[in-house]
Symmetry: C2
Subunit: 210 residues, 2 copies
Amino acid sequence: MTEPILVKKRGRPAKIPHHHPDTREALIRGGTAILTEQGFTASGIDGILKRVGVPKGSFYYYFASKEAFVREIIDYYGRYFVRKLDKFLLDETRLPLARIQAFVDDAARGMAKYEFKRGCLVGNLGQEIGVLPDSYRQQLSAILADWQQRLAHCLQLARGAGQLGPQADCDALAEYFWIGWEGAVMRARLANSERPLACFAQGFLAGLPR
Amino acid sequence: MTEPILVKKRGRPAKIPHHHPDTREALIRGGTAILTEQGFTASGIDGILKRVGVPKGSFYYYFASKEAFVREIIDYYGRYFVRKLDKFLLDETRLPLARIQAFVDDAARGMAKYEFKRGCLVGNLGQEIGVLPDSYRQQLSAILADWQQRLAHCLQLARGAGQLGPQADCDALAEYFWIGWEGAVMRARLANSERPLACFAQGFLAGLPR
């Protein structure tokens, strides 16, 4: 579900200069990779620093705390995901409902690429919400509301094109999709298979009002 | 989503005798409560012992390791959940589809009772599967397969009663339900509200083939 972050090369890791925008970016990208795999509680800053190859002093130069760091990671992931969503949901070469299927197919490929070890950052953190700083709740909810609005727009296009019946409540359907989606991503990790994503897309699309 | 485990009373906690079946049961119940709130990584054995009020020595008398302990908790939770499911899905005073709605309504009341702090143990551990002992994967998958089979049976009754069309693939629909369900529980915790559960039930039932 995430971009490839750090391709490990053989030999000594390239030195990343201190106080450099690239270091900041590398920390956010490395943190995103780890959080999509492990969630917040299991992810230590030490592991992220090691993965990115920067010394501990650098971390606190760029981020005031683990909490502030994760807030930036959530923003980064939200922006990344929206680019991906728009790529599919605004793709005028496909009919609107086929765009949803294409998004799910792409997500399945993305999960398979990382051997179903990476989930959705929003789902991971949502599952841990009880032990997370309170500020994350609103941030994650805002991201989900944004995804919902983009999907509702696509469903409205489907209704306009006659792919859905005129009675379709596109906002409610989009809300329903994202509620189930995080379950589908979790199950794909548990099953080590894209099958739950395919089953979810099939069930959702088959149940739409025609 | 879980039974009330340990009602905190004022004053000194009642002593629980060592090497007693009640202590074992109390540890499993206390562990279940903590795992439904926090998941595996954030839950330490120390916190569970403190909650239950037994000394550390007792733990290793009853369980060989944290891993073995959590295996028993998963079994316990699976049995508890199946009793709850059967209570609703086999309730002959309701039409089959109304039984599914009644189950969701009950789950929503259960989550509200714990202020949306407790999720589903299976969903919590599923989300953490990447950092968990491998043996849990099969155990969790078996529990979900069992729930699926019970729901498929209820959907078959609905088909037989004419609530669903003859074309309904009850196994696929039951699989779809549980895939989305864990997402709905996660979202209810994130939103601090039963709304995602209600939206999920509404979307699922409205999309069934009639």
